[in-house]
């Protein structure tokens, strides 16, 4: 799962800020996000509703409509090329290679009146004009473990799991170096989810492909990814290795989120939870957006802190004043407080 940390990243995002224009108002969905994905690695991006995780992911393919959204600050570099200011026609040329994407609802992205084989063939032709399309479609169907006869089927004739396999085949048709999977199994049953995740792991291994898995499901991300980014209200607030972020989380939000995800009761029979509510992106909070729900909020939290590296841990960073002021005993103290 580990990519080469010295290799040139396929994707490098720095200080990205993205706003949507609604009526006369701008709503900032991504406030400040940085991330890097290197060849071959599996990276997880976790966050709740309104965290900005899907907007961030879609920006890596130029999928946020330019008529209704804009990049206010920061940069996106793909395979060494700065694409931050790319227009629709420039995005069209690079979409699918080196970065391709699959989504939660495959049916929305499949043409209902076109046979599956043709839809996969179109994807193959996008970047490989001289390819033997028939052979390549057959190969892609084999890769996603679908029978060749599926090529003649229409999307509505397939189950949810099969449609997701088709979407994966279409993405692989472009020979991507990075596959972004945005909640790819949220609409599926757990047993089907396990099959799709096993398929993605096998394909990554076989094709040496990196993956960015976006999900609200911590168990899913934790079982599939080696590095983790945690987003809250438009900010990346913590990132590090799977072991550091999920086993020794530093940010009070990550800590609380992990406890909530376990669905466990405390000694009084109460479910462990974070108080308050997930903030609406339209609400403007000064300073750290987690402050209203944070068990260890301090006066400093009125301004957003920079990233602090956690001592003695490789590449584990957090944006939290409390952790910065308590660099040694942070996790235990927050645990006791929450």
């Amino acid at each position: 799962m580990n990519g080469d940390q010295r290799a040139t990243p396929i994707v490098k995002v720095e200080g990205l800020r993205i706003s949507y224009l609604r009526g006369g108002n701008a709503v900032t969905a991504v406030k400040e996000a940085s991330l890097a994905i290197r060849p071959g690695e599996a990276v997880g991006l976790v966050g709740e509703s309104g965290s900005g995780k899907s907007t961030l992911a879609r920006s890596l393919l130029g999928l946020n409509p330019q008529s209704r959204s804009q990049i206010d600050a920061g940069s996106i570099v793909i395979a060494g090329t700065d694409v931050t200011r790319y227009g629709p026609s420039q995005w069209e040329k690079i979409r699918g290679r080196p970065v391709a994407m699959i989504f939660q609802d495959p049916l929305t992205y499949l043409n209902p009146v076109m046979r599956i084989g043709r839809q996969i063939a179109e994807s193959v032709r996008r970047h490989d004009r001289g390819a033997d399309v028939r052979a390549r479609v057959a190969e892609l169907l084999r890769l996603v473990k679908l029978p060749e006869a599926i090529a003649r089927a229409y999307p509505h004739e397939l189950s949810g799991g099969m449609r997701q396999r088709v979407l994966i085949a279409i993405a692989l048709g472009c020979r991507p170096k990075l596959l972004i999977a945005d909640e790819p199994t949220t609409a599926l049953d757990v047993t089907t989810q396990a099959e799709i995740m096993a398929l993605l792991a096998e394909l990554r291994e076989r094709l040496g492909m990196a993956m960015l898995l976006i999900s609200h499901d911590l168990g899913l991300v934790g079982s599939a990814c080696s590095r983790i980014y945690v987003m809250y209200a438009g900010y990346v607030i913590e990132n590090g290795s799977n072991g550091d972020v999920f086993i020794r989380p530093a940010h009070p939000y990550t800590k609380g989120l992990l406890l909530s995800a376990e669905v466990k009761r405390n000694a009084d029979g109460r479910f462990v939870t974070i108080g308050g509510d997930v903030p609406n992106p339209a609400t403007i909070v000064e300073g750290c957006p987690f402050r209203p729900r944070c068990p260890v909020a301090m006066d400093e939290c009125g301004t957003m802190p920079a990233f602090t590296p956690i001592p003695n841990r490789a590449a584990h960073e957090v944006r939290c004043w409390y952790v910065e002021r308590h660099p040694v005993i942070q996790a235990e103290e927050i645990h006791a407080a929450s």
């Binding site: 509703s49 989810q193 934790g222 079982s223 999920f246 939870t273 974070i274 108080g275």
Partner: protein, 260 residues
């Protein structure tokens, strides 16, 4: 039999078969019997197509079974007149999985709550505000003029629960009540449901695909597969020490963090 021993809800030998577009019979529910006691929490666990939602709708009286009997407080629902049926059904209220979809977007909280109180005569502003307070929408009076889109996801979930409580049900049938809730507020919703149970001795029949929630929340778990209950028992026992192969596969398929 003394009143206390009559189950709140009893399904006996319930069968429901649908026909799909091609006319092929689909056996959604095959001869199922179950009981829900007063104040008991039951989780009905299964994947899509298992028949769990159909069973919930049968228990609600929204779908008539082909065969079998439903008793509420010992009275058979299938033999009741339409009026008596409606009156009896009042003891059950659904909370559907998508709180947003079940709330008319053009109605204010006040109107949505009045509708839920129906003809009970308790739908005054003060009565509504008190109930909103009790589900954590505080102060309730401030929520009265708001529209559903002005509420957060968690607040909408609380509003749906308040609507269910308006008729003072003995049983709440909740179909995937947490599937739309964010992870960090899921515990709040579960705690609210526990508070309501303690205050009102409400029973829950929770239909869910989420094994972790079933294990931690329910007293008893029923595992459903292809229209049949394949395993049943106390939640800790069934989900920690499953006997049926399907239950084992269901549990094994759930991705968990190493620390959990």
């Amino acid at each position: 039999m003394p009143q206390a021993e009559v189950p709140l809800l009893e399904l006996r030998g319930v069968v429901k078969t649908f026909r799909n577009a091609a006319g092929t019979p689909v056996h959604a529910v095959k001869d199922i019997s179950l009981t829900v006691g007063r104040g008991e929490i039951i989780a009905l666990v299964g994947e899509s197509g298992s028949g769990k939602s159909t069973l919930g709708r049968i228990a609600l009286g929204l779908i008539r079974p082909d065969k079998g009997e439903i008793r509420l407080n010992g009275r058979p629902l299938t033999e009741l007149s339409p009026q008596a049926f409606r009156d009896a059904r009042i003891a059950m209220q659904p909370i559907f999985q998508d709180a947003t979809a079940s709330l008319n977007p053009r109605r204010t909280v006040r109107e949505l709550m009045r509708q839920a109180f129906g003809r009970s005569g308790r739908g005054s502003d003060a009565g509504i505000a008190a109930l909103l307070d009790s589900v954590g929408l505080r102060p309730g009076s401030e929520y009265l003029p708001r529209l559903p889109h002005e509420l957060s996801g968690g607040q909408r979930q609380r509003l749906a629960i308040a609507r269910a409580l308006a008729i003072e049900p003995q049983l709440i049938i909740a179909d995937e009540p947490l599937s739309g809730a964010d992870v960090s507020i899921r515990g709040q919703v579960l705690n609210l449901l526990l508070d309501i149970k303690d205050a009102r001795n409400v029973a829950y029949l929770m239909i869910t695909h989420d094994i972790a929630v079933a294990r931690a929340f329910a007293d008893r778990v029923l595992v459903m597969m292809q229209g049949e209950i394949v395993e049943e028992g106390p939640s800790g026992e069934v989900l920690s020490n499953p006997r049926h192969d399907y239950t084992r596969r269901l549990i094994a398929a759930v991705p968990v963090l190493a620390r959990a």
